[in-house]
C-alpha cells in the first residue's frame, strides 16, 4: 500500500447516549503514514469517536472502514488485532501488574502476537527503551508510576500490539512543558517508524507543530478539516473555542 492512500475512513458516524447526540454524522479519512490531529473543546465527542473506532461503542449510524473493509461494531479485541492500537486519555494501565508485564500483554495479544512468552518479553523491553521508559522502573507496579511514566507506558503498550494505526488520546495532557517536548518527539518518532497516527490533543501549540492535517469537532459534529494554518484562521473554529485564539506555528 502506497503512502497517501486512505488507511482509515470514518463515514457518517452518529452516536447517541439516550437523548444526547455525542457524534453527528462525522466523516473524514486518515491517510496512510500521516499524522492527523483531532481537536475540539471538552465534550465535543473526540474520545467517543475513538471508542467507536476501537469497538467499545457501537455507532447508531455510519461506518468505519479499515483499508476499505468495514470494521464497524466488531469486538474491540478483533479491531486491535487488525492493527488499530490506542492509548487512553487517563491512563488505564493494569495497575496490579508490573510496567513490563503491561507491555507484554499488548505483545501477547495484539496484531503481532506470538506464543513465545520469552520473545514477547524481550520485545516489550525493547519497546520500553524505545519510549524512554526508565529501566529501573520496569518491575514497578503500574499503579505506582508517575503520570509521565504512565503515558509512556500507555504508548509502549499500544505499540506492542504492532498497530498500523495508533490512536493517541491526549498523550500530552497534564504534562509540564519540558515533558511535552519530550512526548512530542516521541510521537514523531513513532510516526517516522512508519505508523499512521491519529492524535487527539488539547495542547494547541503542540498539535499545531506536530500534526500535518487537523480535524475539528464541536458538539459532536465536524466543523473544519485542513492544514494547521487554515484551521488556526477558521472563524468557526475560533468561535467554537470561545474566541480563544489558536496560534499557528510561527515558523
Amino acid at each position: 500500500m502506497a503512502l497517501g492512500e486512505v488507511h482509515l475512513r470514518i463515514e457518517n458516524v452518529t452516536k447517541r447516549f439516550g437523548g444526547l447526540v455525542a457524534l453527528k454524522d462525522v466523516s473524514f479519512a486518515l491517510n496512510k503514514g500521516e499524522l492527523l490531529g483531532l481537536i475540539g473543546p471538552n465534550g465535543s465527542g473526540k474520545t467517543t469517536l475513538i471508542n467507536v473506532i476501537t469497538g467499545i461503542y457501537r455507532p447508531d449510524g455510519g461506518r468505519v472502514l479499515l483499508n476499505g473493509g468495514e470494521i464497524t461494531g466488531l469486538k474491540p479485541y478483533k479491531i486491535c488485532r487488525m492493527g488499530i492500537g490506542r492509548t487512553y486519555q487517563i491512563p488505564r494501565l493494569f495497575s496490579a501488574m508490573t510496567a513490563l508485564d503491561n507491555v507484554v500483554v499488548g505483545a501477547i495479544f495484539g496484531k503481532g502476537r506470538k506464543a513465545d512468552l520469552g520473545e514477547m518479553r524481550r520485545k516489550a523491553a525493547e519497546l520500553l527503551d524505545f519510549v524512554d521508559f526508565p529501566k529501573l522502573r520496569r518491575e514497578e507496579l503500574a499503579g505506582k508510576l508517575t503520570l509521565m511514566e504512565s503515558k509512556k507506558l500507555e504508548l509502549a503498550r499500544a505499540l506492542a500490539t504492532d498497530p498500523e494505526i495508533l490512536l493517541a488520546d491526549e498523550p500530552l495532557g497534564g504534562l509540564n512543558p519540558v515533558e511535552i517536548d519530550e512526548a512530542v518527539e516521541l510521537i514523531r518518532k513513532i510516526r517516522d517508524s512508519g505508523k499512521t497516527v491519529l492524535i487527539i490533543e488539547h495542547v494547541m501549540r503542540a498539535i499545531m507543530k506536530l500534526a500535518e492535517r487537523i480535524v475539528v469537532l464541536s458538539h459532536g459534529a465536524k466543523i473544519a478539516e485542513g492544514e494547521p494554518r487554515e484551521i488556526a484562521n477558521d472563524e468557526k473554529v475560533i468561535e467554537a473555542y470561545l474566541g480563544e485564539r489558536i496560534y499557528a506555528p510561527s515558523q
Binding site: 486491535c80 492500537g85 487512553y88 494501565l93 493494569f94 495497575s95 496490579a96 499488548g106 501477547i108 506492542a160
Partner: protein, 326 residues
C-alpha cells in the same frame, strides 16, 4: 503485590518444583504410615477445602469475578456422581471425572449468561444460579431423588478418598500455576485490572473468562464428586451448601487471592484453625469464625503470602541470607 510468575529465574523454579514434588510424595506416603483414620480424614477434608479454594482462585482470584455461588459446581459434580453411580452403576472414580466434566460444561453454558454481569451483580447472580440448581435438584425427583436425596452404595473408602482428593488438589494447583505463567494468566490479570482496556489490547475477554470459569468448575466438580461417594449420601441441601462458598473465599483471601500459594496456605491454615477452634470451643467456634473473618480482612486484606514475601524481603534487607524467592 504479587508479580507474574516469569520474574522468577529458572534455577529458583527448579528448586521449587523439586521441593513441591518431595512434599507431594510425602503426602502420598501418609496413609500407609499413619494408621489412624482420623488424621487421614482430617487431611483429606483440608485437601478438599484447599482444592476448592484453589479452584475458586482460578476464576475469582485471577480474573476478579468474585463468585459467591461457586458451590454450584461442587453440587453439580456431587449429583453427577450420585446419578451415574446409582442409576447407571458407573465406577465411582470414572464418575468423579465425569462429574468434573459436567461442571465444566455447565460452567461454559452458565458463564455465557453470568460472566456478562459484573461486580456485585455477578457475585449475587452466581449465588442465585447456585440456588436455582438447588431448586432443580429438589424438584427433579426422577433424576436427583428430590428432597430424599441419593443414597450411594454403602462403602467406606477413606484412603481412596484421600488419594483422589490429594490428586485433585495437586492437579488444580498445577493448572493454576500453569495458567498464571501462560498467556492466559496475563489475559486474566489484565481483565481483573481493567476489562475494557484489556479488550482494546487484543484480549478476547469472554473467551478467557469462560475458560477460567470452566476450568475452575471442573475441579470443584471433581471434588464434589469424590465427596459424594465418600459420604455416600447427598441431598440438595448438603450438595448445594452455601457455606462451602464461604470456606473457599475465606481460605483464598486468608492466603492471598491471585497467588498460587495463597489458597494452599490459606486453606491449610484456615481449615486447621477451624478444627482446633471447634475442638477447643465447640459452642463458640462460629463466633470466632465470624470474628476471624473480619480481623483477617481488616488487618491482612492482601493475604498471608504477601506478608510472608514482605517478611522475606525484610530479612534480606536486615542481612539475613535467604534462598531464592518463594
Amino acid at each position: 503485590m504479587p508479580k507474574l510468575g516469569l520474574a522468577v529465574g529458572r534455577e529458583g523454579a527448579m528448586k521449587r518444583s523439586l521441593m513441591l514434588i518431595a512434599l507431594a510424595l510425602t503426602l502420598f506416603l501418609i496413609p500407609p504410615i499413619v494408621e489412624k483414620g482420623y488424621y487421614i480424614n482430617l487431611l483429606a477434608i483440608i485437601f478438599m477445602y484447599t482444592a476448592l479454594a484453589q479452584s475458586w482462585n482460578i476464576i475469582s482470584g485471577y480474573s476478579g469475578y468474585w463468585s459467591f455461588g461457586h458451590y454450584m459446581f461442587f453440587g453439580i459434580g456431587a449429583y453427577a456422581v450420585g446419578i451415574l453411580v446409582t442409576k447407571l452403576s458407573f465406577d465411582a472414580y470414572l464418575a468423579s471425572v465425569l462429574g468434573g466434566l459436567a461442571s465444566f460444561l455447565a460452567a461454559v453454558f452458565l458463564g455465557l449468561i453470568l460472566l456478562r454481569i459484573k461486580g456485585p451483580y455477578f457475585a449475587i447472580s452466581s449465588l442465585v444460579m447456585a440456588e436455582i440448581l438447588k431448586v432443580i435438584a429438589i424438584n427433579e425427583e426422577w433424576l436427583t431423588g428430590g428432597g430424599n436425596g441419593l443414597i450411594l452404595p454403602p462403602r467406606y473408602a477413606l484412603r481412596e478418598f484421600y488419594y483422589a482428593i490429594l490428586l485433585t488438589l495437586l492437579a488444580v494447583t498445577a493448572i493454576a500455576y500453569a495458567i498464571k505463567r501462560s498467556s492466559m494468566g496475563y489475559a486474566l490479570f489484565a481483565i481483573r485490572d481493567d476489562e475494557t482496556a484489556a479488550e482494546t489490547y487484543g484480549i478476547n475477554s469472554t473467551k478467557y473468562k469462560i475458560l477460567a470459569f470452566a476450568i475452575s468448575a471442573f475441579f470443584a466438580g471433581v471434588a464434589g464428586g469424590c465427596f459424594a461417594w465418600f459420604v455416600t449420601y447427598i441431598d440438595p441441601y448438603s450438595a448445594f451448601d452455601s457455606t462451602l462458598a464461604l470456606m473457599m473465599i475465606v481460605s483464598a483471601v486468608f492466603g492471598g487471592i491471585g497467588t498460587v500459594m495463597g489458597p494452599i496456605i490459606g486453606g491449610f491454615v484456615f481449615t486447621l484453625l477451624m478444627e482446633v477452634l471447634w475442638v477447643s470451643f465447640p459452642y463458640v467456634y462460629l463466633i470466632i469464625l465470624g470474628a476471624s473473618l473480619i480481623l483477617v480482612m481488616r488487618f491482612i486484606p492482601d493475604g498471608i503470602v504477601e506478608r510472608l514475601v514482605q517478611i522475606v524481603q525484610l530479612m534480606g534487607k536486615v542481612g539475613i541470607k535467604i534462598p531464592a524467592r518463594i
